[in-house]
Symmetry: C2
Subunit: 380 residues, 2 copies
């Protein structure tokens, strides 16, 4: 416990969010509003003191017994989580962290307290150019072909495919991105260490290799039914736009599309045969003007890139979004042949550790690659 009393303020905040994330149901607005008004540490303290004004719907009441001390809480909730995180190589990303995707702040009180992330990708940088591809689990061959092509096209154009790892459209989109050697992000309803659906364990493992698995559910959290709907708001908020590929009239995909529209993201849907119930949800969102009709992956990107140009806000490419350290390190990597780390660090005017961290980010972005003992530009 010794190390934990010496944590920095930032770590206090991080641990507080980790606690609240285990005590409360994700996306609870009353909790989000209280955290925003009073700060994480205050909200944790008032819960432990048994004087939290939060409603029962947050789920806290049943989880935190009266008289629980902060040290008890650390022992019971933080230590097991950190141990499991270390076992599986997960990190807990919170607002203010370099990897925090700041577009999630658009969710206001419903923003996640923090995200559990695994995988080689850098969530914030990948998400800058990302599109969500969503749709029916019971997709048709038509829909799966579209999702696969879309994932592949996005990958080829340097865009991240975000989806939910489910059967049908989700899996086809992830697989399309992976087949084109692109990064893809899977936002899970349960913990990032709980492969769901189980038969997608291999797919999720492949996603981790170049992309990320993301969840606001605690490690070990089960993929419960109600978590899918709250998860959908993260899929919508993480990306620049959402594409509905196939959906029945009543479907989770339509809920993601509604969230994306409410967040002013670019919302698109693929039409299909009017004889297919799996296209009826797509036709409905086009008809009600929630989504724009798209008929090809090229059109999808044209709409999203058109919006980026129009808005002229935020970085339009990953390179635009690099911090000054990453930019200096990128400039220091020779254009033609690989250079050793020491040379790059010296040229960038940085320490070895700093240069190495920056190279890691640039690597995750696909801008540099390891080459023998040194580093090279990706194209070189």
């Amino acid at each position: 416990m010794g190390g934990l009393t010496a944590v920095s303020a930032t770590d206090q905040e991080r641990m507080g969010r980790m606690l609240l994330g285990q005590w409360c149901e994700a996306g609870d607005r009353s909790l989000g509003a209280r955290v925003r008004a009073r700060g994480v540490e205050y909200v944790v303290a008032e819960i432990l003191a048994g004087r939290s004004p939060l409603p029962a719907t947050t789920g806290i009441a049943g989880r935190v017994a009266a008289g629980t001390t902060y040290d008890d809480a650390v022992q019971r909730w933080i230590e097991p989580a950190l141990a499991q995180a270390e076992r599986i190589g997960a990190r807990y990303v919170v607002p203010g962290d370099p990897e925090w995707p700041s577009q999630l702040d658009d969710l206001h009180d419903a923003a996640p307290l923090g995200l559990w992330v695994t995988g080689a990708g850098h969530l914030r940088l990948l998400a800058l150019r990302s599109l969500s591809v969503v749709g029916a689990r019971s997709a048709t061959a038509y829909g799966e072909a579209i999702a696969r092509e879309l994932g592949a096209h996005l990958a080829e154009c340097g865009w991240l495919t975000v989806s939910g790892g489910a059967f049908g459209i989700d899996a086809a989109a992830h697989r399309g991105a992976l087949a084109a050697s692109g990064a893809t992000a899977c936002v899970l309803a349960g913990g990032v260490d709980v492969p769901y659906p189980r038969s997608h364990a291999d797919l999720l493992a492949r996603i981790r290799e170049s992309g990320v698995l993301v969840s606001e559910s605690p490690l070990g959290g089960a993929a419960m039914r109600h978590r899918f709907l709250t998860r959908n708001r993260l899929i919508a908020a993480l990306s620049r736009g959402t594409v509905l590929v196939e959906a029945a009239v009543r479907s989770g995909g339509r809920s993601t599309v509604r969230e994306a529209a409410a967040l002013n993201r670019v919302v698109m849907a693929f039409p299909g045969p009017v004889t297919s119930p799996m296209s009826a949800g797509c036709h409905a969102v086009i008809r009600e003007d929630t989504a724009q009709l798209v008929a090809s992956p090229r059109e999808v990107l044209a709409l999203v890139e058109g919006r980026l140009l129009l808005e002229d806000q935020g970085p339009a490419t990953q390179a635009d979004a690099l911090g000054w350290r990453e930019q200096r390190v990128l400039d220091a990597v020779p254009a033609r042949r690989p250079a050793p780390l020491a040379n790059i660090a010296r040229l960038a005017g940085l320490g070895l550790a700093e240069a190495m961290a920056a190279l890691g980010i640039l690597d995750a972005l696909g801008l540099v690659r390891r080459a023998g003992e040194g580093w090279a530009r990706s194209g070189a």
Copy 2:
């Protein structure tokens, strides 16, 4: 020729339009504007006198030789047309006639001078509740099935299906209406006595039995390529709305849709598989917001009837549009068992000929039917 010098003013106007219709290309705006400004008889006279200011593009110059007298013109153009009209049972309908569909006036200077009509239907009354169903000649089985179902559904709901008699979508829409014992109108690019395409001669004959064949081209006029585009404006203007079922990106169907949109008609399109080039034109008009997406015949009618309610202008049903004679005759036809013509005429306070003419219109509208020696309400 004696009879022709004694024609009424109305007949002078009718013959003048018949002449201009043979001298000029259909839809010529400079001619339409001149006719509107000066009147038909004046425009005919100035053409015969060789002092017409109309541009060469109207086609007059090559057709009316200098020194042609009005009597020459009657002999050369009117008499053969009237003789052929009598042979094939065609009528020439002009603005002001009871059968003139006044919505064509929306075309302003491009409105047709007159329409050649054959068939048992009453063009104006049928067109009050009409929809155009258009699309590709090289339609797929998917598109033809939609067009057929749509034609049948419109017929079942008492709506006229308007189309162009072509292969593919047009024919499927006509056939769907006929299969449901409904009326359908075919707007031809050539003369109403020139079956085009030839292999549709039987289909056109069936359309005549309950509906109408319509054309602004002179009798005997060939279905020339440029006439299809000008014909499309009539299809768009005649009906309350236009439905595009299948179309390539460049297609005549899209031109009809553009005309319909320019005329503020309800414009709709059926989506299809994004893998089908025959749906690409539909997706394009939905995407560019020229057309609303529809996925079923029921939706098509809901949109059009919704617009009628919103506009609250013009008769929404055929019965609303009946003249006072037809209304009185309809009231005089007993609800339960057939009655002889004489009884109906007496009850309506009309002469036998007037009552018979009104019954003809009511019959064409499907409101009454012949029953043995007398007449009955259709439902009876």
